[in-house]
Symmetry: C2
Subunit: 207 residues, 2 copies
């Protein structure tokens, strides 16, 4: 049994090209092609493919919203975004929406097939630049702000929802000392409330 692929792409020549490539393989076949999400969504359970190839820029519902919808209806569906966009926001939006992989449209036939195979094998095919972007997103650049050990402890306790009183108890220091550290933290972090301090510390990875 071949793995079923559905293509959602409004550029018909491109869509046909993909289908051509896929239908020449032994493992995959294109069971349907759509030029918009709406039509694809109407036939979700009928098509029930192993993999969707999804364009992002589509008339009507765009690829990211379409991905969310399909994922809600068919949580096990694999959706590979195939698009020209390498803008980071769009990439991350697509991944957050539930995309399994993300390829750019300049891909070679081999790469398309490899991506399909990787998807079936439980992987997440990505083009080189995208993979790099994704990995980079983990690399939090160190903040220039330096908190002392004690200040970090206080902030961690605070972030866990403790009041100054209970933090004082836990750290065996007085509430006044907690406030003293907080004041310094606010200055270092350029904020003036505990909420902002906790959020900024989280954002800058200070804890």
């Amino acid at each position: 049994m071949k793995h079923k692929v559905v293509i959602i792409e409004d550029n018909i020549p491109l869509s046909e090209g993909f289908a051509e490539i896929i239908n020449h393989t032994d493992d995959f076949e294109v069971v349907n092609r759509y030029s918009n999400c709406e039509d694809a969504i109407d036939n979700l359970t009928y098509d029930n493919p192993d993999v969707y190839l999804m364009d992002i820029e589509l008339p009507g519902i765009n690829g990211v919203e379409g991905t969310k919808y399909i994922k809600k209806a068919l949580p096990k569906a694999n959706i590979i975004m195939v698009t020209v966009y390498e803008n980071s926001d769009i990439v991350f939006d697509a991944l957050c929406a539930g995309a399994t992989g993300y390829l750019t449209k300049n891909l070679k036939p081999d790469e398309l097939i490899d991506a399909l195979k990787e998807t079936i094998a439980g992987g997440a095919p990505m083009s080189i630049k995208i993979a790099k972007m994704v990995v980079n997103s983990f690399q939090k650049k160190p903040s220039k702000i330096e908190l002392s050990k004690r200040e970090k402890e206080v902030l961690i306790q605070l972030s866990e929802g403790n009041s100054y009183d209970s933090i004082a108890d836990k750290l065996f220091i007085s509430k006044n000392t907690i406030k003293f550290h907080l004041k310094n933290i606010y200055i270092k972090l350029q904020v003036n409330s505990n909420i902002e301090a906790v959020q900024k510390a989280n954002k800058e990875n200070l804890l």
Copy 2:
């Protein structure tokens, strides 16, 4: 000029195997091999390789800490983790530490070379499972908690560091209403302070 590779791996046969494979290519050569991070760190600027292949489990400084150190000294260094661990914490720790890629040790010679090439091309080589893990980490599963529109607005304002008074002004409602919504939010989120509410809302992606 061949691209320079340094291997940090305490399993000598494995290290030799990698070197053998790499030295048989036209594009890469192993300029040094170490069985611990300390020795590698001593020769950072002397070796100055294009790519490090780094084991995680090493005597002394482990691969993740070593990666942090090397990245600090040589920010442009490409460090590929090569390890048996597929535990998610370790993978993400390594990526956060600055690893360029992450491969598992059962890789084939071709895959190793491909990974090196991908690295030089500015990519982030990952084995299939790792790529999937990384992509999955973006897919925030929707929380079962539902906040009303107004509650979200209040929480967003709060997360931006505004006081109840200024939130009241911005939303054209009274401070009492702010407090009313907050009370309901605390119940829904099972917390009892604004800090916790903001943090939980962020974590659960409610805003």
